[in-house]
């Protein structure tokens, strides 16, 4: 038998089992060395977040749409979609609600699914909105302090305390 790539006799008979079907190769020593060496160095890229993000944003979005999307910000933590896109990390739990539309196709690319089927919290969880509200209040208080609007800051501090008390009563067993 001749080598599949040249006239030399095929001395290497390789059966590749990594694909869905076994594939047979009959190669001379030179071509077998090349083949084995190439497959050793071949990188099969696993889906990285950056890759998936880049791919998703290239599809079906004009520059204008992308610019508009980038400006979209979470009302709770203030992170913009642009910041998420660049840092690869979300700002708070509410981002999964406010960027839901954008995140869903991303989750499908990463996980092949978009619905959790695993463990559920033991105790009846409070409404996520109630809990993340604290993030917004603390952020607004910090802004008020930065502006030196101490009256506003003090009002917000009282509301934060109330919310924290409510959490302690409702959340912790």
């Amino acid at each position: 038998m001749k080598c599949q790539h040249c006239e030399k006799p095929a001395t290497f008979h390789i059966t590749e089992l990594t694909g869905p079907e076994p594939v047979e190769y009959h190669l001379c020593e030179d071509h077998a060395t090349k083949y084995l060496h190439a497959s050793e160095n071949a990188e099969v890229p696993s889906p990285t977040l950056a890759g998936v993000l880049a791919k998703q944003l290239k599809i079906g979005q004009t520059a204008e749409e992308l610019a508009r999307l980038d400006k979209k910000a979470c009302p709770i933590c203030g992170i913009t979609f642009y910041e998420f896109r660049h840092q690869g990390r979300l700002g708070c739990p509410h981002d999964y609600v406010c960027f839901e539309q954008e995140l869903e196709p991303l989750l499908v690319s990463i996980h092949g699914e978009k619905r959790h089927v695993g463990k559920q919290p033991l105790v009846g969880q409070q409404n996520t909105a109630d809990q993340t509200e604290l993030i917004r209040l603390r952020r607004e208080m910090q802004d008020a302090v930065d502006r030196e609007d101490y009256e506003k800051a003090s009002q917000l501090r009282d509301r934060i305390r109330q919310a924290e008390q409510k959490q302690k009563r409702g959340g912790a067993a």
Partner: protein, 369 residues
Amino acid sequence: MAGIRVEGFEEENVILDELVRRAPEWLRGVGPESDIVVSTRVRLARNLAEFPFIRRCNEADRTAIEKTVRDRIREIAAWTDLLYLDLISLSPIDRQFLVERQLISREIADATGARAVAIEPQETFSVMINEEDHLRIQVMHSGLDLNAAWAQINGIDDLLEERLNFAFHERFGYLTACPTNVGTGLRVSVMLHLPALVITHQIEKVFRGLQKISLAVRGLYGEGSQAMGDFYQISNQITLGRSESQLLEEVGDVVPAIIDYERKAREFLLKESPKDLHDRVSRASGILRTAQTISSEETMLLLSSVRMGVNLGLLKDLPIATINQLFIHTQPGHLQKLCSSELDTSERNVERARYLQEHLRNDSEPPRT
């Protein structure tokens, strides 16, 4: 911020000095298939609903998260003997030591701001606070032990969930800073020692096969690290849309096949080139016993051959637990803690050679535990 004192201990230093001399449970070299499967690790990512994710936190948020979690952990009656370490107050060597011990990640070691770790004294679990997520819970067992490791971490998660409001979304599950962890927040990893697959150049082939079924392969020290000493971690990449038991099964299902490949590669080497194999193992053992100065990389490489030699019965006078421990006791952080002084690279290489000689003497006992 002052270091958090742990009841019953004077100083964090005392705790760490004691810890360094002990053997972690997961390195004992026991459990099913422990000649090839070194350890099983599972981790859960959890976040408190009432705080931003870590990257978006200011220092006040980080401090508040750390305090909230610390206070709740202290309420847990079964956890009174937990070691709670404030990572800000630890020296770089101590943090390096905890990374080598796999009790904390490189990321949390190098971060700034309020952050901590709670460690179970036998080192079967640790809880990192303010890593990429507010909580990273991990359980480590010796050998291939997926179901027991899951049962333990699930119980730990329940204890914490009774006391903390974890961010949860009815469709997306447990919410995480990075969308790659959302859903179960579960990463299942099995650490394998695969020297024969490396020698026979089969390892890349195995990995390509794994990547096709969405499993990731990493070196010994996690994210982005090179495989040191022929240790490889195999873990799931998908966390959403599959139950925890499915994810455990997916990792568990491929491990026996890889063990089988490694055993076949070892048999092949024993059959086809027994002299070469014996020579490699004997030389490795010889260098480790006689070197006067040796780098960490060379040590890992040679210990890997020795470990395989012991498992194949080519070296008879060494317990596997000794070899397992030498892999981490010869790392820079451990070495400096064991000799209680700061050493530069060349001093470490000399100390490492001395330490190896002492523990590889034919009549040696396993490193003191």
